[in-house]
Symmetry: C2
Subunit: 338 residues, 2 copies
């Protein structure tokens, strides 16, 4: 391996000077700088990150931590898009992204141990189970964190504006003339579930519509199967007075519910209008295509990277940040005027 000693010898100066040159420190004349760079090029020198990190205690590494109980992990379409833009933006600042898991060499370990082991400068947190000891211990350590799925008290968060999105969906249905609007809520253990549900209640109140418990179904997971069960349950409990529209907290659930309704003989959107949330890939391909709320995952990832790096580089954020990324209504074909 080529070291700064080799470069120094080639350039006819000391290793210290080579180091300074590569770090753009002052105290290196233009002539020497040039000689050093030429020597480095010639020898094919690359700085050794490990030695550098050892000396500086800075790794230029950001950890990504996602709960693996969601067995899809990175493969989750929502998160993978956030991760993609996070990773690109982090790269622009010179940071690399590494996955944090619950292992250390050949044994089980905690996330925190893993972070310390790798010496990450900061962590992107993407856990949708809100509170686990594992994650708490990372949050309460001195490691810088930004969360993109859940907003933890006193922690920096970058997350979609669930209230805004819900109101966009609901106002649209209201505009189309709907007054009997049901809600299939995504899991209330998640922040998304909670916020979308409470926006639903807020909306009804603001329009002077009374809450009807028969128009509410709660699901237990962000999965298609839950949509089938929810649709069935909704039909049962509201049989005598069916809603004309459904606001559904998550696209996959909405799509599965839509299929179920159609299988029961309902026409969408003629008999039943449906709005989803998330704008995942499938929603553009269902019959009918799904009207939904788009999350700006690129913006979430980028802002998360910006925030995390600001913290790392000591630009103090004066208060825990709860950044909300605006959502957008995507009108397709699953809603009709009543």
């Amino acid at each position: 391996m080529v070291t700064i000693y080799d470069v120094a010898k080639e350039a006819g100066c000391s290793p210290t000077t080579v180091s300074k040159a590569f770090n753009n420190y002052s105290g290196v004349s233009d002539a020497t700088f040039k000689k050093i760079m030429e020597a480095a090029d010639k020898l094919g020198y690359t700085v050794n990150t490990n030695a550098r990190a050892l000396a500086t205690k800075k790794t230029w590494l950001l950890g990504v931590l996602f709960s693996e109980d969601v067995n899809t992990g990175i493969a989750h379409p929502h998160f993978s898009e956030i991760l993609q833009s996070f990773q690109v933006r982090a790269g622009e600042y010179g940071y690399d992204v590494v996955f944090v898991n619950k292992r250390l060499g050949n044994r089980e370990a905690s996330y925190l141990e893993h972070c310390k082991y790798r010496g990450v400068d900061g962590v992107l947190l993407a856990a949708n189970k809100m509170f686990t000891d594992e994650i708490q211990s990372v949050l309460s350590s001195e490691i810088k964190c930004v969360s993109v799925e859940t907003n933890y008290p006193n922690q920096h968060t970058v997350i979609s504006d669930n209230r805004m999105g819900s109101l966009q969906a609901l106002e649209y249905l209201y505009f189309l003339g709907h007054r009997k609007i049901a809600h299939i809520a995504c899991p209330l253990t998640s922040v998304a579930g909670q916020e979308r549900y409470s926006a639903y209640k807020e909306f009804l109140k603001s329009k002077g519509i009374e809450e009807n418990p028969k128009y509410l179904v709660e699901t237990n997971a962000f999965k298609a199967e839950e949509g089938i069960a929810a649709a069935t349950q909704l039909l049962q409990q509201a049989w005598d007075d069916l809603p004309t529209a459904i606001y559904c907290g998550y696209d996959e659930i909405a799509c599965a519910a839509m299929t179920t309704f159609r299988a029961q003989g309902f026409r969408v959107p003629e008999d039943l209008s449906i709005v989803g949330f998330d704008n995942v890939a499938i929603s553009g391909f269902t019959t009918p295509t799904l009207t939904t709320i788009e999350q700006d995952r690129g913006a979430i990832g980028r802002n998360a990277a910006d925030t995390l790096i600001k913290m790392i580089e000591g630009k103090e954020l004066n208060q825990p940040l709860d950044m909300r990324i605006p959502t957008k209504l995507i009108v397709r074909n699953s809603c009709a005027r009543i």
Copy 2:
């Protein structure tokens, strides 16, 4: 930071012994071993990867390299699933996964430079553009590589059995009575495109069906829009003698083509049977749901990890490995007996 010196003092032994204990080397008595572990626990010691890597020249880091010109990057559903299983398996062996990009600190760099900079022990290559200088330079360096999208000459590859999958799709159509089978090929610049196309030709030959150039359309990208264009083109060029079935090299293209055909008044599957390839999420949600070929992405990721780690750990693979992962026919509703 707690070091082996601190642990040594606490345990009443030398740093060397602590190091040996943590590496499970011989020459540490049971009693001392126990004392060391207790001391380490008490002080909250974690080994410093950077120091270790500096001394051993081994980082326990695997790089993931994917061409970013596919602007979706990790967010691509196919690749993100492979990556997920790769990452989990690598973790079981004690390796962490880091993204490799084309930057180094604040300047542009090559993939190879980045790999050397991070000192990765090996690289997972997921580029579908076959040959670029960038990638060639990594392949011809001494860095261990496994490829999961493209099979490069004399390199280890883990990839789906495109021939098998194609024949499964085509035999199924044949079994349903179809003889006029068209092919919408995915980009022939990709290995997937090439192999699926050549299997199509092989199939026709084996059945004694003459190749009809009107029944072939080539696309330029793995994108839905290409499916629309391809469907339109197919209808134009084969208008006088339409095929009864279409084997389509990629699901998204198949779905978009299907939508286009239906918009033109064709019934699927009554007028036209369609088979895709990949089993991406949307194919279970289209109308009709799409019959397709499933790739075992979990197996690809796991086998890639196994292979790469074997290479790293010096278990020589006697020859460049071209591992083919079996595919599976998923029968849904887009095909009918003629």
